[in-house]
Assembly symmetry: C2
Homo-oligomer: 333 residues x 2
DNA sequence: TCTAGAAATGCTCGTTTTGAGCATATTAAT
DNA sequence: ATTAATATGCTCAAAACGAGCATTTCTAGA
């Protein structure tokens, strides 16, 4: 069974972009590190730290990523994981660019913001600036019922462009799945699905930018959330989805904490990421009985009440339990 | 704050390889679709269907992947998801190749094998051929205690090459985490971690191939499992890890089933993926009460006993529950 | 035809986990 | 001292889970 080798020698080349969604929690606010860029052909827009992968200089993809982030912001972070590789950085590029095509790899990094500054460039922005509909800290955000749902429903009922008779049903189902319309529940992890639905419906600026012809159908009403360059908002949505899912089964929440913390500080950090739906006493029981933390013996006074015991992360927990994390149930009221 | 554009125009190009780990379950055996290749410079070896991404021909990465798989095997699959992007396809390539460097994107596809054949090329191989230590269907595999653990322990205790005093501890901890030595539990999802540990320890053929100098320390004893070309075995390990994790919170198991099936057939398929640790009556209660299936009204006779009711997947479940899946607990006896 | 064997299915029961809330302790501010 | 705010301990009912017994309904063979 001899055939040509799989990898042909004349295989086309593409350029690889490395992009970092660097997430932290600062004063109970979930934030992402943003650098404002002025690329040619597109107006100034928010951007994630990023740069091309250069195999000659970077031994691995991750090393390349760290180098770019350090160069652009001065930040060195610890935890990082790869999110996803996107074949088209905004379909704009896809439609118009010639080879070499650009493929972008998104990364999620988690870090604790050291008050005694270190950032040389770039700023921390609340991630809800880009996804206001994800901010459930003060209950269901008004924008959902005022903007998203009605405009998405209109889109779902739009006559299909091409002969796809089942399209309206598909759209209505996706709408229900993403936004919990018609009795469904809001799943805090579906950040990417929601963004992609809004993109397809032409309700975010990036869609108008990439596909001007679609946007015509949906110009009545403001665009939703602050846009970003290329596909960076999609990468950020992927990052939020991932971190919201991951803290439930891996102890990554501690990447966002200082070495010592009170249980309530830990809870506040979890709630900043997930949304505020945790019962204080049960949260305490959860993290203690799971062996995620151990008391340091110290207490923190000035809490506004009784002093709180300080805890630290018990690293050994990863050796003891198969999926240690803050196992709060997804999608509750 | 004006600076150079992020993406430089002289950015280096790389070649992107698309690789598919196409997984199915055939007669209670988990299998993967393998094509045997004879690439230059490396002897004949098992390979996953794969090919380079060509932005000119393929509108998206996924379309490119499907095209290559179809060309190489004749198979068209349904469900597919991206796994990971590897920056080095075996460090061999990294060390010796010149630009353009190759980056490989791994995909997981799930499909149901239609008995009335369709495969033009390639063969289905049990995935345990590549990872015999993952096969717990007849209890703890002998190879774990006979080969893996002792040889890994020797490696963990090896004097570190460079000045890294804490290395032995790190190695011992990883060993414990991956293989549950010293009282830890075996976590069926850590397939990739185990493979990478074996690679680092020089116990799989790929490590010897990529880093001949390391292998010298570990030549006493057979190499473990059938090797694959490039980094394909690592991609397969990633695929197994992913599918083992994912069936617990997404109804992907039904991608492996025919339209109608009995609950026991479903259980057998889950057990083929995860390992056999399910209580029959409780499994039934689990999938029924989760609303994952609905009876068709038909029964299947010739089961060897009382006829079994036939069920089908209830697609609506994804609209009702945030994380529908076969929620068996990870890492039990 | 009758019976043993095999598998499917229904059900119980004790344990563990979870959701919710009451009660008490310890601080700071007034 | 009193009050407000927070930390922390504890209880209790509901739900989920793990294990096993019992019954039903088929096939195969005496």
């Amino acid at each position: 069974m001899r055939r040509e080798p799989l990898i042909r020698k004349d295989a086309p080349s593409v350029e690889i972009g490395l992009n970092a969604a660097i997430v932290s929690v600062h004063k109970d606010e979930p934030v992402v590190l943003v650098v404002r860029e002025t690329p040619d052909s597109i107006g100034a827009a928010d951007s994630l730290p990023s740069g091309p992968f250069s195999p000659r200089e970077h031994r691995t993809l991750e090393i390349g990523l760290r180098a770019w982030v350090h160069e652009q912001t001065g930040l060195d972070f610890g935890y990082v994981e790869q999110l996803y590789t996107f074949g088209d950085r905004g379909r704009h590029a896809l439609a118009e660019d010639r080879d070499p095509h650009v493929v972008s790899i998104g990364y999620l990094a988690l870090t604790h913001i050291n008050e005694t500054a270190e950032l040389q460039r770039g700023t921390w922005h609340s991630w809800y600036q880009y996804f206001p509909w994800e901010d459930w800290r003060r209950g269901r955000p008004a924008i959902v019922d005022a903007q998203l749902v009605p405009r998405l429903k209109a889109w779902a009922e739009m006559p299909a462009m091409r002969a796809t008779p089942n399209r309206p049903v598909e759209r209505a189902e996706r709408l229900r799945m993403c936004f919990g319309t018609d009795g469904g529940a809001w799943d805090e992890e579906k950040v990417l699905d929601r963004y992609e639905l809004l993109y397809e419906a032409g309700l975010v600026d990036e869609a108008r930018r990439d596909r001007p012809e679609i946007a015509i159908a949906n110009t009545d009403g403001p665009q939703l959330g602050t846009p970003m360059i290329y596909d960076h908002r999609r990468i950020l949505a992927t990052a939020i989805s991932r971190v919201r899912a991951k803290i439930k089964y891996r102890p990554v929440i501690f990447e966002l904490m200082p070495n010592e913390f009170t249980l309530y500080e830990l809870q506040k950090t979890v709630e900043a990421i997930l949304g505020p739906h945790l019962h204080k006493q049960n949260f305490r029981r959860l993290v203690e009985s799971a062996g995620l933390v151990e008391p340091t013996g110290q207490v923190k006074t000035r809490t506004g009440g009784r002093p709180a015991k300080l805890f630290r992360f018990r690293r050994e927990v990863v050796l003891e339990r198969p999926a240690p994390g803050v196992r709060v149930k997804p999608g509750r009221a």
